[in-house]
């Protein structure tokens, strides 16, 4: 993990020239940092090392006597297991679906909010509210109050007896996630829209550019890094989706909505296959590192803009 990160940010080296200081002063500077750094290393890095170790063991908690070293056998099992492959595909579909739709909706909302009207701050408060509702509460609210075939709000308003969760499980989960994450995208994109220089836009208008040209040639390129940041941060949070799957579908029907976090949870606490669960965890970490590398590149480019200001 750290390897990837350091390689990425080599390019974001500080512009501050390294000043030679004696070691006492260096430690005085480091002192305020150390508690947080040590805490983070112990609590976040040690478990991953242990995960790596467990992933090389044949270890089922129901048969504790038979624990032994098997090398990369668990990885073979994980990568050839149909359930895990299905979980991987579901993770990609759920994450991509939720991120794409929440970005599109978030962009529409950000454009609507980027103009002055009466009660703008009230509307903004309303729009961020879904993000603040406890995810577990939101998932159950959608499951029972909105999707329920007998008394849910959708069937109550449009009629019919459709069982939305059984018939469209993935869409039901994605809809709930999109409702929760659109405010996040909207806030990031709104910040992007509002950071456009008003003078430059005015100059373009004076030069006779129409609204569509300004939007396509100026706003979209300006928003690009905000769109990227929203997509990547959204993916990093949403890859870990657990609450919605746990509450709405329990991964079902069949394995239609079982994503990797839920599958690993099942492997650990229902099947007690510790070795396989750890190997699956390592696979998830590797996938996340790939996404995170791009995310860090975007963050460090925003970061450099800030430094050079």
């Amino acid at each position: 993990m750290t390897d990837v990160i350091t390689r990425v940010n080599r390019r974001a080296k500080p512009q501050v020239p390294p000043v030679r200081r004696n070691s006492k002063e260096r430690w005085a500077r480091r002192a305020p940092l150390l508690p947080a750094l040590i805490f983070a290393i112990i609590v976040t890095q040690v478990p991953f090392v242990i995960t790596l170790v467990i992933s090389t063991l044949q270890w089922n908690a129901l048969r504790p006597g038979q624990r032994h070293f098997v090398g990369v056998e668990n990885y073979g099992a994980v990568l050839t297991d149909a359930r895990l492959r299905a979980a991987l595909l579901n993770t990609v579909l759920l994450t991509a679906g939720a991120v794409i739709f929440s970005i599109i909706l978030g962009l529409v909302l950000a454009i609507l909010l980027d103009r002055k009207f009466i009660g703008r701050s009230v509307v903004r408060t309303m729009l961020i509210t879904p993000f603040l509702v406890m995810p577990m509460a939101a998932s159950l609210l959608w499951k029972h109050a909105i999707f329920n075939p007998a008394y849910g709000l959708i069937n109550g308003l449009i009629g019919g007896q459709t069982d939305w969760i059984s018939d469209y499980p993935k869409s039901a989960v994605i809809a709930t996630l999109v409702w929760q994450w659109t405010p996040f995208m909207m806030l990031i994109l709104l910040a992007g829209l509002q950071s456009q220089s008003e003078e430059v836009l005015e100059a373009a208008r004076v030069d006779g550019a129409n609204v569509w040209q300004i939007f396509r040639k100026m706003t979209i390129p300006h928003l690009r890094q905000y769109l990227e940041l929203g997509a990547l941060l959204g993916s990093i949070y949403l890859v870990n989706t657990f609450d919605a799957v746990f509450a709405i579908t329990q991964g079902g029907p069949g394995t239609a909505t079982t994503n990797l976090p839920y599958e690993i949870y099942l492997t650990t606490f229902r099947k007690f296959e510790y070795g396989e669960a750890a190997a699956a965890g390592v696979v998830v970490v590797i996938l996340t590192i790939i996404v995170a590398t791009f995310a860090l590149r975007v963050i460090s480019s925003l970061f450099r803009m800030e430094e050079s200001r």
Binding site: P47, V108, L109, M134, A150, Y151, T268, A292
Partner: protein, 292 residues
């Protein structure tokens, strides 16, 4: 995407043909109205949740939906009868203590990464953010085994420690972005006047960053309060936090919707308030300080 784009031209004022101020105002208020309608549609599930929590179960489960009813507090008293209080207190404890710990650890660290930077401070910053990006699911098993072996399962202090590490990177990045806003000139002027480091922290830095500090604390509180994955796997009856109270509603039989809505409203309320208070700083926290 195209819908957005084609919707936009009507929105802003076309420059070629200057319009009368009256027409411009009309267009603006039409789009304002659209924003209001979209906002209400968006927040409607929450409004529906609050409305349903004041209904009787029969009204909550009716089809077509009941719009007019005599509000009742029965569901709330039922929820309290089912002992929601310990769950609320556990969440309060886990969120408040982890937030305090986060602020105590992150503020000095952010100071050492901004105003008085250590060497390799970018590496340290990116190390912190990389810990946030690692999926928690990969750490669950070792955390579970360690916590179990030291006898700390179902203990609220375990959750305090884990939520602290979960929020630490976010707080370091956020606090750093606030500390960078302290004008260098004021700090230097203080040093020239012979102010000690402690004095300049107390008299100059803290007053300037305290709104940022408050926003950081609120955002950490929100994430700790809402956390479910670790809580459901590491707590049970003693240390169950707020979202755990809702697990029982996943596949309930019979009439329970109004009671669920009452519980959901009650459990979401602290975070709704914290989020509304911190909403101007929310985007900065969510983007790790990358977006102002």
């Amino acid at each position: 995407m195209t819908a957005v784009a084609t919707g936009e031209p009507v929105a802003t004022v076309p420059p070629a043909r200057p319009q009368s101020a009256g027409r411009r105002r009309l267009i603006n208020s039409v789009w304002g109205l659209v924003a209001w309608i979209v906002g209400i549609v968006f927040v409607f599930p929450v409004i529906w949740m609050v409305l349903t929590s004041f209904k009787q179960e029969q009204d909550a489960a009716s089809n077509p939906p009941t719009w007019f009813f005599t509000p009742t507090l029965d569901q709330y008293s039922l929820v309290f009868d089912r002992n929601i209080t310990p769950f609320l207190l556990n969440s309060l404890m886990a969120s408040v203590f982890s937030t305090l710990l986060v602020v105590l650890l992150a503020t000095p660290a952010a100071f050492a990464l901004s105003l008085r930077p250590v060497e390799k401070w970018t590496d340290v910053l990116f190390f912190f953010i990389s810990t946030k990006m690692l999926p928690i699911v990969a750490a669950l098993l070792p955390i579970y085994l360690i916590v179990k072996s030291i006898g700390m399962l179902d203990n609220i202090w375990t959750m305090v420690i884990l939520y602290t590490s979960m929020n630490l990177p976010l707080a370091v990045w956020m606090m750093r972005s606030f500390l960078l806003e302290v004008p260098r000139e004021i700090l230097e002027a203080g040093e020239v006047d012979g102010a000690s480091l402690l004095t300049s922290i107390r008299k100059i830095i803290l007053p300037i960053v305290s709104p940022g500090l408050a926003a950081t604390a609120l955002i950490c509180f929100i994430f700790a309060w809402n956390e479910f994955f670790l809580a459901v796997n590491l707590t049970a009856t003693n240390a169950g936090t707020a979202p755990i109270f809702l697990v029982g509603f996943i596949s309930s039989e019979g009439l329970f919707l109004a009671r669920l809505c009452a519980a959901a409203t009650l459990l979401s309320l602290p975070v709704l308030i914290a989020g509304w208070v911190a909403q101007n700083k929310l985007v900065r926290g969510l983007s790790m300080g990358a977006v102002k």
